[in-house]
């Protein structure tokens, strides 16, 4: 009996030591990865400096006209630093990017209250401090007086290459907008005569969904490129309907 108790105690101790060693090894591996990431960050900073100073020849001609629409995901902490955002937008303007969408994760509705994204609250300040920038906004069709102007407004703004256009998007323009669009389609469905037909038939198409999203004011264009600022690559809930084929960097 003593022998079996002792062997059990020995087994438990060796298991604990084994776990401790494995944990230490895991921490060591992550420490090495942190060092490597730090070194890579320094290399990236050096490369950025070389690009800005014009020493790297291959970045001199950017063919920026291929980039029709750029979107940027800004973390909550960064969204409060309005001066840095204005500086970023000024750089983009200098490089030749004309249409920019700024997205921050804040801004959602619960019940009857709507909290605007951080960037949406600062949009007037940002637009004032950017020379000649125009606001790009998908106007909701709930305002019938501007219904007829909607498509004309969007086309004119996007074709304008003199001024930079800015769109401000927040979390509420993603999933919540799809919910609102779903309710628009539900109203049409309830009034139509398709309700009693075959349950397996398709009722809506993707273009009808796109129209419904425009109706609720969340039907902006698909960005060609989505820049993510943060420690990891994550689109943070940027409207799913608009990033089907967007390059996310």
């Amino acid at each position: 009996m003593d022998f079996s108790n002792e062997s059990r105690v020995l087994h438990r101790c060796s298991a604990q030591i084994g776990n401790l060693l494995l944990r230490s090894l895991w921490h060591l591996i992550h420490f090495i990865i942190s060092i490597c990431n730090f070194t890579l960050d320094i290399a990236n900073v050096l490369e950025s400096y070389l690009i800005s100073s014009g020493l790297l020849g291959r970045y001199k001609s950017l063919h920026i006209a291929k980039l029709r629409y750029l979107a940027i995901v800004i973390e909550s902490e960064g969204a409060y630093q309005t001066s840095k955002i204005i500086e970023l937008l000024q750089w983009l303007d200098a490089v030749g990017v004309k249409h920019v969408c700024l997205y921050d994760i804040e801004g959602r509705s619960s019940g009857f209250s709507l909290s605007l994204g951080i960037l949406k609250k600062s949009k007037d300040f940002i637009l004032e401090n950017l020379d000649g920038a125009m606001l790009f906004q998908v106007l909701s069709y709930w305002q019938p007086s501007i219904y007829a102007m909607q498509d004309a407004h969007e086309n004119n703004v996007l074709l304008d290459r003199q001024h930079m256009t800015l769109e401000f998007v927040s979390f509420s323009d993603g999933k919540e907008a799809v919910v609102k669009a779903a309710n628009v389609l539900f109203m049409k469905y309830s009034k139509s005569d398709v309700t009693d037909k075959n349950q397996k038939e398709k009722i809506f198409t993707e273009s009808q969904m796109s129209e419904a999203l425009k109706t609720v004011g969340s039907g902006g264009p698909e960005p060609d490129l989505l820049l993510v600022y943060g420690p990891a690559r994550c689109h943070s809930g940027f409207p799913a309907w608009r990033i089907k084929y967007t390059e996310i960097v």
């Binding site: 591996i29 992550h30 990865i33 942190s34 990431n37 909550s76 994760i105 993603g174 999933k175 919540e176 799809v178 919910v179 669009a181 779903a182 309710n183 389609l185 539900f186 109203m187 469905y189 309830s190 309700t195 349950q199 397996k200 398709k202 009722i203 809506f204 198409t205 993707e206 969904m209 943060g230 420690p231 990891a232 690559r233 994550c234 689109h235 943070s236 809930g237 799913a240 309907w241 990033i243 089907k244 084929y245 967007t246 390059e247 996310i248 960097v249």
Partner: protein, 238 residues
């Protein structure tokens, strides 16, 4: 799972052989994930847009899908894995569709390790399908059940909520992923899970899919662990 055709071209293989190697890579990846303790693995096998490819290539992929189902059915006899097929299965031929449904039915009782294969899937189609189902549900509730419930007073039309959309999606069978891996140096989502990956690490590997190995998976998991606190914070804000 990008890079099957590029791999075949680079290795001078015959047309379609890249997909064979890709299918093996998927089965290997399922084993690696199981060994690492990952509970849910989802693979994007065939997009709705892929029907536009050459008929011979589409047929090749369908044949491979059938073989994978056979292999997974054999594995499921000895190991408790649950297999899901997410997507518009009505676009498949009857034989494949029935086999997929049989496999899902046979493995429905397991939950420790879940393999989801996305077939005839794209995220925008998933959203539209989910909206359709939600509309049908709410209409049925309003027409046939609504009067007997207190919250439907004064003939108020029920409204669709986010929970309705999410529960009717093809991907509602599993939780949102922590990591999304794309191979062949692609940085786009290509209409795959952009709804479900709001708070997921998007990992892009330069290797082609047939060449993916366990160390690529380990590297991505280590990257995720490095940023774990950041993702936990993001999910808690949501």
């Amino acid at each position: 799972m990008d890079g099957n055709r590029r791999y075949a071209k680079r290795k001078l293989l015959e047309e379609g052989a890249g997909h064979d190697v890709g299918a093996m890579a998927l089965l290997n990846m399922i084993i690696y994930c199981h060994e690492l303790g990952v509970k849910y693995i989802t693979a994007y096998a065939f997009a709705i847009d892929n029907f536009r490819r050459k008929p011979s290539e589409v047929q090749k992929i369908m044949d491979l899908l059938k073989e994978c189902m056979t292999v997974l059915a054999k594995i499921a006899k000895h190991h408790p894995i649950k297999v899901n097929f997410a997507g518009n299965l009505e676009l498949l031929n009857t034989e494949l569709r029935d086999e997929a449904r049989n496999l899902m039915g046979a493995t429905a009782k397991y939950s420790k390790f879940v393999v989801t294969i996305c077939v005839c899937y794209c995220c925008t189609d998933d959203i539209v399908h989910s909206v359709e189902e939600s509309c049908r549900e709410k209409h049925y509730y309003h027409c046939y059940i609504g009067d007997s419930h207190d919250d439907d007073k004064d003939d108020e039309r029920p409204i669709i909520k986010l929970v309705d959309i999410e529960k009717n999606m093809y991907m509602a069978v599993i939780p949102d992923p922590d990591i999304l891996i794309r191979t062949s140096d692609e940085h786009r989502l290509s209409n795959f899970l952009q709804w479900q990956t709001c708070h997921s690490l998007l990992a892009s590997l330069s290797t082609d899919w047939p060449e993916i190995g366990v160390w690529h998976l380990v590297k991505v998991v280590l990257d995720f662990q490095q940023n774990y606190d950041y993702f936990v914070r993001k999910r808690s804000l949501a």
